[in-house]
């Protein structure tokens, strides 16, 4: 295993403590990276995040993190985007105003629709709670590897009001459904994995996925 280390991106968005605790619990050391200058050839990167898309992107830009993150991903670096961190991987988001994302995976981030559900009841937002995942696609490589890290009995904790749309099938690893809407739960491209749920808050199943990522070579 590389000793270049695990970096957790601190861009002022989200509860770093939870992610850090989970990484520690899995037995890995980590360091926080809060600006481009501190980005120093890590073996693995975790991009966490809770909050709004435009705000998140602005913070990444202000901290000179966009270029290092993009280069890292393009060169095959292993990155795990969590919740907002996953959403920022896409081309654009439509929260408040249209904002360009990191553009590593094709697709857009939009608000989960709140029109009535089949039962005539308004869909509640945020989407909060545990959901099982359905594995999709039969691609080789990373998709299959990620899928081996989860079971279809496991459930993961979601809390979000926005979701990814128009994701190419080759980047879709697993989905969940909430009140009639299909939500991309795990996406992947190259060695980059994005999860809409919070693995650091999903009990044993989440820790297993996190461990899989941290151990991946």
């Amino acid at each position: 295993m590389s000793d270049k280390g695990i970096s957790i991106i601190d861009y002022g968005r989200g509860n770093l403590a939870s992610v850090a605790q989970a990484v520690s619990f899995c037995g890995f050391a980590h360091r926080f990276v809060s600006c481009g200058a501190e980005f120093d050839d890590p073996s693995h990167v975790i991009l966490p995040g809770v909050g709004a898309f435009p705000d998140g992107m602005k913070s990444l830009h202000d901290r000179d993190l966009v270029k290092p993150l993009t280069s890292f991903m393009e060169q095959g670096g292993r990155l795990l985007g969590v919740c907002l961190g996953m959403q920022l991987l896409f081309e654009r988001g439509y929260e408040f105003e249209e904002t360009e994302g990191l553009g590593f995976i094709r697709g857009s981030v939009r608000r989960i629709p709140t029109d009535t559900t089949a039962g005539g009841r308004m869909r509640k937002l945020p989407h909060i709670g545990w959901s099982p995942l359905a594995k999709v696609g039969l691609e080789d490589g990373l998709q299959m590897q990620v899928q081996s890290a989860i079971t279809e009995q496991s459930q993961f904790y979601f809390v979000h009001s926005f979701f990814a749309e128009d994701v190419p099938t080759e980047n879709l690893v697993a989905v969940t459904s909430s009140d009639g809407v299909t939500i991309p739960a795990i996406v992947a491209r190259n060695n980059v994995v994005g999860v809409q749920f919070h693995p650091e808050k999903s009990g044993a199943a989440g820790l297993d996925l996190l461990r899989w990522f941290l151990q991946s070579q």
Partner: protein
């Protein structure tokens, strides 16, 4: 049907877990972290820590409890009790909380709800509302009045009116406690939950009154709630989570069946 979330509610006084009736008369039960870890191992969906004293001394202990809990517990934790400012919220989030519950301070300064929601996101901002039944002005039907300061002070405000305002200001979830039912183990205030769930578009957590699985089944089916907070019956080992889950599922209430390994 969406799964109903099971949330363990732990009222904390200083460093200790407590339990009262109608939000007062606390008995000391022990170390909150131990209870939290047990519930985590037994597959609880979320934890809720509420500081019952909400004094400055109480906050330091609460922060310590949160910090120690997140070392071993990896499910969402909501923390509240005496949160008066965005800085208070930030401090609890830094300690490891995922969501912040605000009650009295929101009533005194409703802008706090927007401030917290804007800074940390609506999903972090749980509006906690404690209510008691009261007669309506017309004499027909039932209404509820909002109480603050851990159930001690009346506000004269109608619960549904306040809840609507709180949601407009950016609350992402509603923790609704019936003071009348709290600690009695005689069941939830179904009328309350039904009246509120019909009005709101954010998730509703019912609190106050859980005594049997039947109470949970009723409050979900008739009250339309999204989550249920359980305190005394769990702390006193009168009901187990696996019993509650089994009874729920056998009666048409979907709940998460956790992984075997923990």
């Amino acid at each position: 049907m969406a799964q109903t979330r099971l949330i363990a509610r732990l009222d904390v006084k200083g460093p200790r877990l407590v339990k009262g009736i109608h939000l007062e008369g606390f008995r000391f039960l022990g170390n909150p972290q131990e209870y939290a870890e047990r519930y985590y191992r037994e597959g609880i969906d979320e934890l809720l820590y509420l500081d019952a004293v909400a004094s400055l001394y109480g906050r330091e202990s609460l922060i310590e409890v949160v910090r120690n809990t997140v070392r071993h517990v990896f499910v969402p934790i909501t923390v509240g009790g005496g949160v008066r400012s965005v800085d208070d919220a930030a401090e609890l989030l830094r300690a490891g909380a995922d969501k912040i519950a605000v009650n009295t301070a929101a009533v005194r300064n409703p802008q706090l709800i927007s401030d917290i929601a804007r800074r940390f996101g609506s999903q972090c901002m749980v509006l906690s509302v404690d209510v008691r039944r009261r007669p309506t002005t017309s004499g027909e039907g039932v209404a509820w009045e909002v109480y603050v300061e851990n159930g001690r002070d009346r506000t004269g405000m109608d619960a549904i009116t306040w809840i609507r305002e709180g949601i407009k200001l950016g609350a992402g979830e509603l923790l609704l406690t019936s003071i009348d039912r709290e600690g009695t183990t005689k069941g939830f205030d179904i009328d309350l939950m039904k009246a509120v769930s019909q009005e709101i578009s954010i998730p509703l957590i019912a609190s106050g009154g859980m005594g049997t699985s039947e109470h949970l089944i009723r409050v979900v089916k008739e009250g339309g709630v999204d989550a249920v907070a359980i305190a005394g019956v769990l702390h006193r080992n009168q009901l187990s989570l696996s019993e509650i889950r089994r009874d729920a599922v056998l009666n048409g209430v979907a709940v998460r069946m956790p992984d075997q390994t923990m």
